[in-house]
């Protein structure tokens, strides 16, 4: 079987997503964070796939380390960064009530 076909089959495998609360395909987890995988991908898939191997090969070691071995951001960190980014996109909206 061609490698590409194997990937297509892997992408179609489904597991329950602990963030969303329903089944999602591996292809979703592989690209959940923009073009990068979800930081939970190892936990959710390691019982079914050699997921570390797959993702290291796809991402390269540097991107892999950044996703899985960095300190994950807290919800408040995410929020503040999103506020900063949104203010830049929308202006500071100083006319607020």
């Amino acid at each position: 079987m061609e490698n590409h076909d194997i990937l297509v089959r892997m992408d179609a495998l489904e597991t329950r997503c602990p963030k969303l609360g329903h089944q999602v395909p591996f292809g979703y987890c592989r690209k959940e964070s923009g073009a990068l995988p979800c930081s939970k991908a190892l936990v959710c898939w390691s019982h079914r796939l050699p997921v570390e191997l797959v993702l290291r090969k796809f991402l390269g070691d540097e991107a892999y380390e950044a996703v899985f071995n960095g300190t994950p951001k807290s919800r408040i960190q995410v929020l503040l960064e999103a506020i900063e980014a949104a203010k830049e996109r929308c202006g500071t909206a100083s006319d607020r009530p």
Binding site: R30, E32, I76
Partner: protein, 453 residues
């Protein structure tokens, strides 16, 4: 007939929320701003939250009065009943007495409206016309939709597209309550439009939906953003659960030895437990346990850090339990509880050893949930199953020790909109192994031929 429910009269509903910040032995470490390294100021949050809620976020007042219009709305389902789980006690053959607070009786079916209603009210009195939020599975989106309808606010929910398509009934609930439920990425925001231009078929993600909801709020002076867990004011609003439970236990002449709840962002756990943590601070002997999934063991495995999130030192500093780089994940997956970062208050209490945490795997939690449904009738939410697994463990321990422990836990929601998860569990799909590993390993040996994502 033996009494299994304790009701409070509406007039007995607590009139104030309890703020643990007044009683903490050491104060919470404030979150620090990524740019300045200084504690986050009200202005940093002002673009997305109204000032009256930001004031609650930082308040150290012990008791905060619940506004009358909020109490009126609460009265539609509050006070919630305290049940004794006689069926489960019998099934386990335990001498323990098991009590639970049934938060599944709210219209959307969970504890979430306790804060949704309060947040909608405070936004309304601050002059806000519309709230914006994100939702994954749909629990929070539906709670906020109902709350906005109650106070005449418009509500816009950015629902992760893959969930929007998979969970049509949560979307229908939101629309029934008058909210606009938009699949994310959408064309409503610059973030969404950019993603759609590059990936028209993007299934979305919580990260994208959060960015869209925040951009939507920041770009409209009449709109604000709303979050359903993690933040101090959200936990504050949930304390009505524990305050009611204390009155109900008093009516029975009992005090719990163990208090438990499942912990995702920390709000339902904190809602039940914070009033008991107060008692503990003042010398009472009570064990307080947060139950979390082994797939996301923030409290049990994540280190408590006050650190930058990256080597470039650009992210905010925050003291919390988080899944750091030394965490080796268990080879299983679990359902329901979503945040990898725990509420700062809950993280702090763990550091102070005022609470404990235990992790449970997915199969164990669904096994407990099904055992519960067969013994007690009600079908729990997958998140709630984590608390039930903790209760079963504690009740069996009491049996071994021959102790008549009193266990109290928060039954945070029903599972009737999550039956597909039960389907998967009952048909053994949650652990199914589909593609032979050998085949994959062989294929991966020649990965150069793989297409780039």
């Amino acid at each position: 007939m033996e009494q299994i429910k304790v009701f409070l009269d509406e007039s007995e509903m607590p009139r104030q929320w309890y703020n643990i910040q007044a009683d903490l032995p050491t104060p919470l470490r404030p979150p620090l701003h990524p740019g300045t390294g200084q504690p986050i100021k009200a202005e940093d949050l002002a673009p997305v939250f109204p000032m009256n809620l930001i004031e609650q976020e930082v308040s150290t007042e012990r008791w905060i009065s619940i506004p009358e219009p909020v109490l009126e709305k609460y009265a539609l389902w509050r006070p919630t009943p305290l049940y004794r789980a006689r069926g489960l006690e019998k099934a386990l053959g335990t001498p323990a007495k098991i009590f639970y607070k049934n938060e599944g009786v709210s219209p959307p079916g969970s504890h979430k409206p306790n804060t949704a209603v309060a947040q909608a009210y405070y936004n309304k009195v601050f002059g806000i016309k519309r709230l914006s939020t994100e939702t994954g599975a749909g629990q929070w989106g539906s709670a906020l939709s109902m709350a906005c309808q109650m106070f005449g606010l418009q509500c816009r929910v950015f629902m992760v597209k893959v969930s929007y398509n998979q969970k049509p009934y949560r979307r229908s609930m939101m629309e029934t309550w008058g909210a606009e439920c938009i699949p994310s990425p959408s064309d409503r925001t610059q973030t969404g439009r950019k993603i759609l231009a590059e990936h028209p078929d993007s299934p979305g993600s919580l990260g994208i939906a959060i960015s869209e909801a925040i951009e939507d709020a920041v770009g409209d002076p009449h709109a604000r953003y709303s979050l359903g867990s993690v933040l101090n004011h959200v936990l504050l609003h949930q304390t009505i659960i524990g305050l009611e439970a204390q009155k109900q236990m008093e009516k029975l002449g009992l005090y719990p030895d163990v208090v438990m709840g499942c912990a995702g962002g920390g709000s339902n756990f904190a809602g039940l437990c914070l009033p008991f943590v107060r008692d503990k601070i003042h010398g009472r002997n009570v064990t307080i346990v947060a139950a979390e999934p082994t797939s996301c063991p923030t409290l049990t495995k994540g280190p408590f850090r006050y650190d930058f999130g990256d080597t470039a030192m650009t992210t905010p500093l925050l003291a919390m339990h988080t899944l750091g780089h030394d965490f080796v994940p268990a080879p299983i997956h679990a359902g329901g509880l979503r945040y990898h970062g725990m509420a700062p208050i809950v993280s702090h209490l763990l550091e102070e050893k005022l609470i404990e945490a235990r992790a449970f795997d997915q199969v164990e939690t669904f096994t407990a949930g099904v055992q519960w449904a067969r013994a007690e009738g009600f079908v729990p939410a997958p998140e709630t199953n984590h608390a039930i697994a903790a209760v079963v463990q504690e009740a069996l321990r009491a049996k071994e020790e021959g102790k008549e422990k009193v266990i109290l836990f928060n039954w945070s929601g029903h599972g009737y909109v999550d039956m597909s998860a039960y389907d998967a569990f009952l048909s053994g799909k949650l652990t199914r192994y589909e593609l032979p590993e050998e085949e994959i390993r062989r294929a991966l040996a020649a990965t150069d031929a793989f297409p780039k994502p």
